[in-house]
Symmetry: D2
Subunit: 396 residues, 4 copies
């Protein structure tokens, strides 16, 4: 190697002078994978990084599986006891990707130990549980975030910015569905934790509905009342381990809602929509225009302006939200070189790291535990309305 | 002219040996134009015709305007008194295209005179009025049809046929919106009859909602309950003649519904959806597949089958419903040479003429006055639920 | 009938005071049906009409069929000898909807008798024949039109208007395909006249390609050169009457073209595009924006503007070309109530009637025989280029 | 920390027992970022990994920039002399992401040193240069790949698999465009290396056209002839450093092509398509069906089958290519949770690593240097045809 040619030896482990924040990950399945990937990409894609997530530890019940996950993603330690992980001084941020029944206790414990908390959605199985979590993090003074990652889709943030700028004017309508199909009969889906109220809190409501309720909060504002139905199409399912289990959560719900600002809307989720893979679609109709978003085409937004000139060519614009001036896009690729679902987590976690490092609020663009609680209040009201047959007023 | 060349002299006024049915048209505006056009096209497009609508007379309040309409479309007589027209022996079929407050009385009178009746939708301003109309036509033994023309879109009929054949299996979800924008502030729409309860019965509900309620009835079946909201965004509007009028109908409604067969669904209509011109869209999710329809692309249907092979290429099909084997298409053009909104009336009126000539039932594919009544029952329940804040059970 | 009620007796045969123009229709199949329908609708839809097409006579080879067509559409006379029809003094306008080998002779004869001529496209089987036709009508001083009906789609005319206004600026690219599928093997299409050079002149080129060449002329301007290929995938087909016939026309062609104004483009047509029913799609990319059109969604246009504000929501607009301010739409229905393929003929024939009655030029918006000739020149050049393997310069 | 709780300490640097392959990256801009990201994600997403790319070194001209890139992505060494990097024994694989004029020399040198080579596309500035590169790697016996990453889009691979299985039958048509807009006047793009023939070889042709030529090779087969045009709309551009530069490459090209198997097609690329961000779209029409792909919606494919039952619902399927049974999807997320453009590089580089570790051929699914050469032959023929005005036969 010629002297002249050689430029520098660099420390591969360091991607800048940003502080490291030790992360303890609870869960190694779907969300564990998505969050771990985001934390690994963040330091070199959001560059220079505000902070570097140090994969300190991961926790899960199955010792072999958690060790394998640690090896796979590069976590330094692996725990089967999440309490121990939370107490580990190398952990400064708990990333709670466990099942819904493991959201409250670990998150509260982490807060008590002074750790920041990122918790997957729905924040809790009901509003009471969510309130306790919110109280705990507030009392502890730690940063807290509910992982409503769809706020971190560039198109969604662009829409929020348009609303904040007053470009849309008074909002008349919100219309949102979140449709999936994977527990339909032809899938042969067995009894799983997501179909059990004790473990999941609710069904499509908490899993999918929570997302669109949060988006409604984020983009339209507080909900005033809900008139709702829930439905369980298949009451009993086989267990993988033999025998049958009773499905005591909703397979679907539908709600007509009023907002505090006078808008009205609909919310609907189901896991029984044949052919709909991950169909999270919302539309806003407002005084100066309309917007529409479809998660399956998350790099696009549809936008209509009532004032546009020339009038002859007014119409819904198909906006490929991938320009350097669009939210977060300066970190990625040239226009039209689309990003995917996983990228929302990079934006989300980076947002939280910024809040931690700069001691900034997580809201309004990040969802806090308060936002997680508000979502739970609406979920509870939907269940109550379905049972009582009455419109339920929301008291957050 | 050479003898050999000349083939025949034909009577221009006769397009076949089909019987003529004298039509008396009430109204000469939007619906008068659409129905008149359909009746004029029918004899040479649905060929050979089952019957030929003879444009016997047209009635309207303004003498000059009705005379002009008669001249324009070729009605032989023009009346300013619809009662006289109905009594005219040349009129065998009353085509009632008047405003909603003129649906009941003329239709009932026509029935009493033994005339068949085609009445525009919504059949009446409320269920009670609709019931009286249905009773009258049934008692008179005349043919009766509510002009729910979207049953006569080829794609809609194809979807109904798939359901009848069992291809979709158990229906889980119905999801329908009918969105327009033409009374939004930027249109400057004044106070008009459609915004007055006395004249129109209801607002977006009866105008647009009636269509999607009827489609729900036609494609899914009876409604069990509704949980609904209505909303009036602008309570007062200027009158063209000066002064202001109070809008006492809904600008929009949203409802969560249960069906008798266990499906759940949503229904929503508004005239405040910026950029949505005539956006009547429904989706059905069922056990074996899903279907979706959008009136603005009425020559298309989207269809998904859960069993389709090869599995690798499953997806929503965009079906260009324009093949000779699709409903009514043998009467029109080669595939892909699309038809328009007005063609629904050709199919609809032809269906009624067939019922008259062959003494066949109008249902199940044509909407009868019973169907018009059932729609009105659901409309009334939506208003009641909005006012009471309770789920309202449907008793047709 | 009460005296007061009765308003007026009107002459059903007269829809206004407009002059009548006697039409002689040559052909009673696809185009005969489409043109007849348009002429019957025109007087009451384009109201008040500039002129009323009087269906004077129809001609065709089969006496029974032509008599039936006359009866169906209301033609007063039926001829088996088109010469006799042309000479009939009741005929002032020849509407030539015959096969391509019957375009020249009848059109020229009509011109010689001083009759106006509307001729279906392609105007002729080659440029030489087209030139003779153009010369004849010019010499006779009659009005002449080649039935390039897609100029009369509202979206297409809107695009032309944008270009004329300079809204698009310098054009860089033209990209057009016209794709169908109906002679593919799975259709079992036999040998028909459209596959025979003597009768048709060319295959997909003259049938489909002529349309997109004319649109290129109408929207971009003159073609400077073509570099092209043609292809016949199936050389021999069964005859319905037994035996096999040789296909001596193209099943498809593709061409790279230069325009006189410096733009470049592609042109392609085929009848071997599985699933493409009537897929006539073009796109223009220009200095200030782009436009795209798809005949199967002919009520829509896609438009992009480079200067649009706000920049954040730039994107292709989906314009539902159905507003009262869009071309011809004031004659039709409220926005979003779409029209169909057949409506192009109403606009087209009305345009010709206006030219006749007001002694106005047919161009630039209507295609004249000159335009039909120019199209034939490009078609011939495509065949020549395909055979010679050389770029062919266009000399109109 | 409880003993029981603690499971294991894991080496963060090791993601499995797979062999490490030392990578030397040439270039740190667009492609350097995309490839580096892919190599970092690969070991934990394609899990367990077949091999682990060890980011051994990165080279670039600017010392500060290359050091920064090394720090950012974790390359252990940074070079300003790519020769030195190639000779570095820690480098086993050269990843050549330099500008086109730096493709040949470093790739050949790497081969001579026995290093495997991944080279960005277009492989070379012309076929002669590409041939020399291909000869060098073949002679050296190293693995070689041209980075045609769109072969590694799941939808594209699915389409290739359908073709291989015979599902489409005989191919009649290929139709491909690759449209961008970023050198249009409103962008104010200055003179850059991509507009200089010495550095880039060609313009839109090599940059964008190479991709669709390779896809044509991959999906249809060898090209028999081309009839083409190229065009430079803006001949002179300002230099950032002052003064003006002459653009001596194409801004756009269009070609009509014949394939060896009898299919015909079109190829077109431009950087002057207003509103088209990264619009790489192809369509294949074949005997048993058609397929269509759009890179801007790369998680989708459109597929039509001529034999599909029921016939009533035939139509183009919109396939959301994101099921676990689709290519590579078992490594990613649940269905409908889409991936992005960058993921193609993960698949591509993993494919190369498999070839290296298992000593497997890179083709047919990976593009070799032979494929890069074949692409260059077609590019050269397009330029030649444009200049000569003649159809050019391809002799690979």
């Amino acid at each position: 190697m010629s002297e002249q040619a050689f430029t520098s030896m660099v420390a591969a482990s360091s991607a800048g002078d940003a502080p490291e924040i030790g992360v303890g990950m609870l869960g190694y399945a779907f969300m564990g994978k998505a969050h771990s990937n985001a934390m690994k990409k963040l330091p070199y894609m959001i560059y220079p990084p505000v902070a570097i997530p140090k994969l300190a530890a991961i926790a899960g019940r199955n010792a072999a599986a958690v060790a394998e996950a640690a090896k796979r993603f590069g976590y330094r330690k692996a725990y089967t006891d999440w309490r121990a992980m939370i107490e580990d001084p190398d952990v400064q941020l708990l990333d709670n990707g466990g099942p819904n029944n493991l959201h409250a206790e670990p998150s509260i414990l982490a807060a008590q130990w002074g750790k920041h908390v990122l918790c997957e959605k729905p924040l809790a199985r009901n509003a009471e549980e969510a309130k306790a979590m919110w109280d705990a993090v507030e009392q502890a003074g730690v940063k807290h975030m509910t992982a409503f990652n769809y706020r971190f889709v560039p198109a969604v943030r662009m829409i929020r910015d348009l609303i904040d700028q007053g470009a849309l004017g008074r909002i008349y309508h919100w219309r949102a569905v979140y449709l999936q199909e994977w527990i339909m009969p032809h899938y042969g889906t067995p009894m799983i934790w997501r179909l059990n109220r004790e473990l999941a809190g609710s069904g499509a409501l908490g899993d999918l509905g929570a997302h669109i309720i949060d988006l409604a909060h984020y983009l339209v504002g507080g909900v005033k009342s809900v008139s709702a139905l829930t439905k369980t199409f298949i009451q009993q399912r086989d267990r993988d381990e033999g025998g049958a289990g009773v499905v005591d959560v909703d397979d679907a719900f539908a709600a007509a809602v009023e907002f505090e600002n006078g808008a009205i809307g609909t919310l609907e989720s189901t896991r029984f929509a044949a052919g709909r893979k991950n169909h999270n679609v919302f539309e806003i109709n407002a005084e100066r225009g309309s917007v529409r978003f479809n998660l399956e085409r998350m790099n696009e937004a549809e936008v209509f302006w009532v004032d546009e000139q020339p009038q002859a060519t007014q119409g819904f614009h198909n906006v490929l939200v991938s320009e350097s001036h669009h939210p977060w896009w300066r970190h990625w690729w040239p226009q039209g070189h689309i990003i995917g679902w996983e990228h929302t987590f990079v934006h989300e976690i980076n947002h939280l790291l910024e809040a931690i490092v700069n001691d900034q609020p997580v809201g309004p663009h990040g969802a806090t535990f308060e936002d997680g609680y508000r979502c739970a209040v609406v979920c509870d009201a939907i269940v109550e309305s379905s049972q009582s047959g009455r419109r339920v007023d929301i008291a957050y």
